[in-house]
């Protein structure tokens, strides 16, 4: 079930009503599990068995870890969980990739391997919930958490529908206790949840989908586009993926608030970052911190020499790239980001955290901060070209190289800019989308101290309601002209 559908709106209203009528914690959790499996089965009911088996394995491993004392046995249990989860992920997500590469390798040395590929459908959200369940067993193994004996509570943690298919990837230490406590309805939290959901709908439908249409119209035929047109498409893609993914997180977090559950923040105005390391502290925070805690730190983290620290960072980013998809372009994108964070990472000094105000505390940024923000954004955009190439099955390295070459070679080409103006003059919907984008960047800048841009506590109620009404009808008008699935469902 996709968030931006009538189905979801009706489903949410029903589950919300039943949840608060139920009152008792056990009943509420049971309802959430049933609703979450229904939500997941809306795509394909067969996927539910995968999620259930992954949940049961980790639930059992957790219980086993509770009672097992010996180190070797505990390790064996942990290994069982990791092998099961990564096996599941590897089979569904990476089998085709490895089979294709093995086939190419054997063909190159004169052997022929046929029938290696299977027609596998990637179950929606598998990368998210396997990481979430895996973190549970790792935390229990490390003694940070005592495994729960209540299967319903545990299933709630794994399958909680708002964040099931595209995160935020929650840790059991944070989310599970919320399901084991009674919840009381809080007006302010629920109202803020509604605001955040509305903002998510606006970002996804008005911005991400329309920006996606601009990107497709230019990137689908890069040979015919000029450098400035490709540069515009690249900037649009940067905001498409941001608005798309952060919209999902906003709707997820807002929905969870309606049930009295707090999910972690997943985006903190990443495009106002002043270096790539800060960007990764603000972008997909739940995944970045997952890799930090379960890969980077176990490898030695930052408490090692500089060469080892650089190695740790690159390995972490390579794995993060591979997490996004089974393609060499994702691996290259991960490696490039790993290299990109090194200059800041290897320098001593205090790094900005996601909770810090991005771009400085002033109303306007200083010239230096603005320069650093623009430079970081430009680097990020260049890296997104690789990312975008990886999401298109038949896109080749040559295509990514062509885009880079055109953007740089025609950076000062008057003919290229004329073609861009002509295109914008002819396509009113593109101009309109860019106006919305400019407005969005401005709103994000003004609201960057807040959790989300629609936190307007100081506005009088009538003004807030007028604004919400405007957003709803603009979203229905502008946001339904093109439609698209959430991009991160494919990861």
């Amino acid at each position: 079930m996709t968030f931006t559908t009538v189905t979801f709106v009706v489903f949410l209203a029903l589950v919300f009503a039943l949840y608060w009528i139920a009152r008792r914690r056990t009943l509420q959790n049971l309802l959430l599990v049933a609703a979450s499996y229904f939500f997941y089965a809306w795509w394909d009911w067969r996927f539910c068995f995968l999620m259930l088996s992954s949940s049961l394995v980790d639930y059992s491993v957790g219980l086993g870890l509770n009672v097992t004392k010996g180190r070797a046995r505990r390790r064996l249990l942990l290994l069982t969980s990791i092998v099961c989860n990564l096996g599941l992920l590897g089979f569904f997500k990476y089998y085709g990739f490895f089979a294709a590469n093995l086939q190419a390798l054997t063909t190159a040395i004169g052997w022929r391997l046929d029938e290696l590929t299977l027609r596998l459908i990637l179950p929606v959200g598998i990368s998210f919930y396997t990481f979430q369940t895996m973190s549970y067993t790792i935390d229990v193994y490390r003694g940070r958490l005592r495994a729960t004996a209540n299967l319903i509570d545990y299933c709630c943690y794994v399958s909680f529908f708002p964040q099931l298919v595209a995160g935020p990837i929650e840790r059991a230490t944070r989310l599970l206790p919320q399901f084991t406590r009674p919840r009381t309805f809080d007006y302010a939290t629920a109202a803020d949840g509604c605001r955040q959901i509305l903002w998510g709908f606006f970002k996804k439908m008005v911005l991400a989908d329309n920006l996606g249409a601009i990107v497709d119209s230019i990137y689908n035929n890069p040979q015919a586009a000029t450098g400035p047109q490709l540069a515009l498409a690249t900037v649009c893609f940067a905001y498409q993926i941001y608005c798309d993914f952060s919209a999902y997180s906003d709707i997820a977090i807002g929905t969870a608030k309606l049930f009295g559950i707090r999910l972690m923040r997943n985006f903190a105005y990443p495009y106002f970052s002043q270096n790539l390391e800060e960007f990764w502290r603000r972008w997909h925070i739940s995944l970045s911190t997952w890799f930090r805690d379960y890969v980077y730190i176990p490898l030695g983290g930052s408490r090692v020499g500089r060469p080892r620290k650089a190695f740790n960072a690159i390995v972490t980013f390579l794995l993060s790239g591979l997490w996004h998809g089974a393609s060499w372009s994702f691996v290259a994108w991960g490696a490039a980001n790993g290299v990109g964070v090194l200059p800041r990472l290897l320098r001593r000094g205090k790094a900005l955290k996601a909770a810090d105000t991005p771009g400085g505390a002033g109303f306007l940024p200083t010239a230096g901060a603005l320069g650093r923000m623009l430079l970081t954004f430009a680097i990020t955009c260049l890296l997104w070209v690789l990312f975008r190439a990886a999401t298109i099955p038949d896109a080749t390295w040559n295509q990514a190289l062509l885009i880079y070459r055109s953007m740089f070679a025609e950076a000062f080409s008057p003919a290229g800019y004329q073609a861009l103006w002509r295109m914008l003059a002819e396509e009113g919907w593109m101009r309109r989308t860019l106006y919305f984008l400019a407005g969005f960047v401005g709103i994000e800048w003004l609201q960057r101290r807040r959790e989300h841009a629609l936190s307007l506590d100081r506005w009088p109620p009538w003004a807030r309601w007028a604004l919400y009404t405007l957003i709803i009808w603009v979203t229905l008008d502008v946001g339904t002209r093109v439609s698209g699935a959430f991009l991160y469902f494919q990861f």
Binding site: T4, T5, V6, T7, R119, A190
Partner: protein, 313 residues
């Protein structure tokens, strides 16, 4: 909680009032292309059996000549339900399913794009404006999943109405452009406009799923038709030879999947359904008069061959 429900209810009521004001400003154009759904549905209800019912998108509307069918296959009455590809397969099949009668023949012909991506657009709103009962041709799942787009389209229509704008469809895309059997014929007397060469068909990552879903829907329709005493057939659409040549891999894959999984006969092959460029009016799927006559005669020949002389009255 009470305060939350009260405020949410009040807010929803305000939005409903705004919505009612917007939607009441929609001014349907009685001669709009989509309004032909009224005549087509009436025809389907009133034409006596046995009938040959053509199902599909605009390619069926353009490429079928029902008088030829009736002349060559007496006593069959021909009904052309083809309207728009963008209404989607579920709609097209849902419109006819359950309304077939003993002895009817249903020929389904879908644009190849239906097998690559789910086709659905705001045009559905136009059809519903003229015949709200057509809502029954959608499953609740589809309405729920795509309803946001339909509401958005209705909002845009209403806002245009508020601004005093009326949008009329241009000939031949008008209700009065159809003949009494549901064939679009107005273009047959119009000079063909210049048009760009068609975009070749490419299979997308999710296409196999879409192919499987579409064939499942066709099979479900076939079963329902058999239960009603009717026979279903599939026919590849009439397309330009150049389109076929450039889309051959994808098109042949669709044909192979249909032949492997479809529960009723396929009357032609993608190659045999091709027509020369000069037989088309304004796009790859829209033949002119000559093209429609050739296509219809080919289909009748194929159908007679499949049914055998004994089956023909």
């Amino acid at each position: 909680m009470k305060r939350f429900v009260r405020n949410l209810g009040l807010f929803a009521a305000i939005q409903a009032a705004i919505g009612a004001a917007i939607f009441s400003s929609i001014r349907p154009d009685d001669d709009h292309y989509a309004a032909a759904t009224i005549d087509k549905n009436r025809l389907l209800d009133e034409a006596p059996p046995p009938r040959v019912i053509f199902v599909g998108g605009s390619s069926v509307a353009f490429s079928t000549d029902c008088p030829t069918v009736e002349r060559r296959m007496p006593p069959y009455h021909a009904v052309n339900m083809g309207l728009m590809a963008l209404l989607g397969v579920e709609y097209m099949l849902g419109e006819v399913a359950g309304r077939v009668r003993q002895g009817d023949i249903v020929i389904i012909s879908l644009e190849y794009e239906q097998f690559v991506q789910d086709q659905s657009s705001a045009m559905i709103v136009r059809v519903l404006e003229h015949r709200p009962a057509n809502l029954a041709y959608f499953s609740p799942k589809r309405l729920g999943d795509l309803g946001m787009g339909y509401i958005g389209a209705a909002v845009r229509r209403g806002l245009r109405g508020i601004r005093g704008k009326r949008d009329r469809s241009e000939p031949p895309y008008v209700r009065s452009g159809f003949n009494e059997c549901g064939d679009l014929v107005m273009h047959r007397t119009m000079p063909p406009p210049e048009f760009a060469p068609p975009t070749p068909l490419r299979l997308l990552p999710g296409s196999q799923g879409q192919i499987d879903r579409t064939i499942d829907r066709l099979n479900a329709f076939g079963r329902l038709s058999r239960r009603g005493g009717a026979s279903a057939f599939y026919a590849h659409p009439a397309v330009m030879q150049s389109y076929y040549d450039r889309s051959r891999q994808a098109v042949e894959h669709i044909d192979a999947e249909l032949r492997r999984r479809l529960g009723f006969p396929v009357l032609n092959t993608p190659r045999s359904a091709c027509l020369p460029r000069q037989m088309f009016f304004n796009s790859n799927y829209h033949p002119g008069e000559q093209g429609a006559l050739k296509r219809t005669n080919d289909l009748v020949d194929a159908l007679r061959a499949k049914l055998g002389p004994a089956a023909m009255p």
